[in-house]
């Protein structure tokens, strides 16, 4: 009898419990429905595909074309700077014009040309992993690869063998958006110069470098960026003539609709990884830093779905 009583009480309790959890309230049903949603990718870890020097984990989305103009002026101070060159504005250390086209949402092709050593480069970036909003994937990973060619001779005979003009760069970009304000990236990079520049004995053909960069958003469309790179190259770390320095850039980033502007100061003269990692000989200490900027403009080349033909500014 006692057993039956207990069993019945349990039965009753179970019944009420079930009624509470699985059905009656629309609220409970709603939360069970929304719980089915999959974790979303974290988006917009960075505004643009590049920070100051670094590639970010952002890729150009399918059918979009990113047009980049990057400029580095001359030394602001030091022997080449000062008022006579309007603090470097009269000179240009490097000018890069580039295009990035999205083949898929995760894969883009890149093409660009630098003034610095007339480097022409072609490459790709592939977004392998996406950080997830629920933390199931704590970071994003993208791979970038590039091949560069210096088509014009820098010196009379160094480029006799045409393969000497070719350089390579391979990079893994690991980024994490810590909050809606702060994103950080770290990029191990492998660089190969078939004929390493500057043309000095002991200069390595191959070396590894690491980049670290961060963005901190002050407002929704305005942020601070800092970008740093260090080549692990015994030649670059030990040579005294010429002496090499680690590239360091600081700047601001402004987004206005389809444009992203970056305004920065850096000691690096060159814009392409193959150049600035290999050959940054200017130092912040000596006033050899310069104003630079990047304008990134995104065009959507996808099929038009807009029924009303209004002029698109996106």
């Amino acid at each position: 009898m006692k057993k039956v009583c207990i069993a019945l009480v349990l039965l009753l309790a179970g019944q009420t419990l079930r009624a509470q959890t699985d059905t009656s309230s629309a609220d409970a049903l709603m939360s069970s429905l929304t719980a089915e949603d999959k974790p979303e990718d974290v988006i917009a870890s960075f505004k643009a595909t590049r920070l100051i020097f670094s590639q970010t984990t952002e890729t150009v989305k399918k059918h979009n074309l990113n047009f980049l103009v990057t400029h580095r002026f001359g030394d602001i101070a030091g022997s080449e700077g000062g008022g006579s060159t309007l603090f470097g504005l009269d000179n240009s250390s490097d000018i890069f014009i580039g295009f990035e086209y999205g083949l898929t949402d995760n894969l883009d092709l890149q093409f660009g040309r630098s003034k610095y050593e007339q480097l022409i480069e072609a490459g790709f970036k592939y977004a392998v992993l996406h950080q997830k909003a629920d933390g199931s994937m704590p970071f994003s990973l993208a791979l970038a690869g590039k091949m560069g060619l210096k088509p014009y001779s820098v010196n009379t005979d160094v480029f006799d063998d045409y393969t000497n003009r070719i350089n390579y760069m391979a990079q893994a970009i690991i980024a994490r958006k810590f909050s809606s304000k702060l994103s950080v990236l770290v990029s191990p990079t492998f660089v190969r110069n078939n004929l390493p520049f500057p043309f000095i004995d002991g200069n390595e053909k191959d070396y590894i470098a690491i980049s670290a960069a961060a963005r901190y958003k002050i407002t929704k469309r305005f942020g601070l960026v800092v970008d740093y790179a260090h080549p692990f190259s015994s030649f670059r770390n030990n040579s005294t003539n010429p002496k090499f320095y680690d590239p360091l850039g600081v700047g601001i980033e402004v987004e206005t609709g389809g444009h992203v502007f970056t305004l920065n100061f850096s000691n690096s003269k060159a814009i392409s990884e193959m150049n600035f990692l290999s050959d940054t000989q200017s130092s912040w200490d000596k006033g050899q830093y310069r104003l630079g900027f990047t304008i990134s403009r995104m065009f959507d080349l996808g099929p038009k779905h807009n029924k009303n033909k209004k002029q698109s500014n996106y």
């Binding site: 629309a26 609220d27 709603m30 929304t34 988006i43 399918k62 809606s180 929704k220």
Partner: protein, 187 residues
């Protein structure tokens, strides 16, 4: 004593099932937002809205993940999420309220309805009265509604830098197909 207990158990379980709440569920409600801006029309679509409707009480709940809205241009979608809706902070938009008319869902027909409740988007709750229509077709319900949302009401800022690319008022269109919710599905 034993019989009494069994009787008690039986009645209580019967009572529990006696008045099953007439719950209707939609798992893929289509929600469209449309901005007729001077420069460019912007349209976002989600087919991922969730809704629960209690036909006996008139209770109505809607929920949609902001990230589920798809736009023609990926940049629009990113700006929508990152700058306007801040979907990492406010991942959902929702409506919770009641339908005043409570139409008889056992009779086929088209019923104009009015829902009163709280619309929450971008973390801001607004008391709203929204008109819509319920179509009943052999136990299947379709709810449609079209209403306007002012960005300013939900503290969605439109910066001057973007040159009025989005309108200050968005048109929201909702179409939800409901099926009766079977609380103890037979397996």
């Amino acid at each position: 004593m034993k019989h009494l207990l069994i009787l008690l158990a039986l009645t209580s379980s019967l009572l529990g099932q006696q008045a099953p709440p007439a719950l209707y569920v939609s798992k893929n409600a289509a929600i469209t937002l449309y901005s007729d801006a001077p420069m460019e029309d912007i349209e976002g679509n989600s087919t991922d809205g969730k809704s629960v409707y209690n036909a006996s009480t008139g209770e109505l709940a809607f929920n949609v993940a902001i990230r589920s809205f798809k736009f023609q241009k990926s940049l629009m979608q990113e700006h929508f999420n990152e700058n306007y809706m801040e979907s990492d902070k406010y991942p959902q938009a929702s409506f919770k309220g009641k339908i005043t008319e409570k139409p008889d869902v056992t009779v086929n027909g088209s019923y104009p309805v009015t829902a009163t409740g709280v619309l929450e988007a971008h973390g801001v709750k607004q008391q709203r009265t929204i008109k819509g229509k319920i179509n009943v077709n052999n136990g299947k319900l379709t709810m449609t509604s079209e209403f306007m949302v002012k960005c300013a009401d939900h503290k969605i800022e439109i910066p001057k830098l973007v040159f009025q690319k989005i309108a200050e008022t968005l048109k929201i269109t909702v179409t939800a197909n409901y099926t009766a919710y079977n609380k103890n599905p037979t397996k």
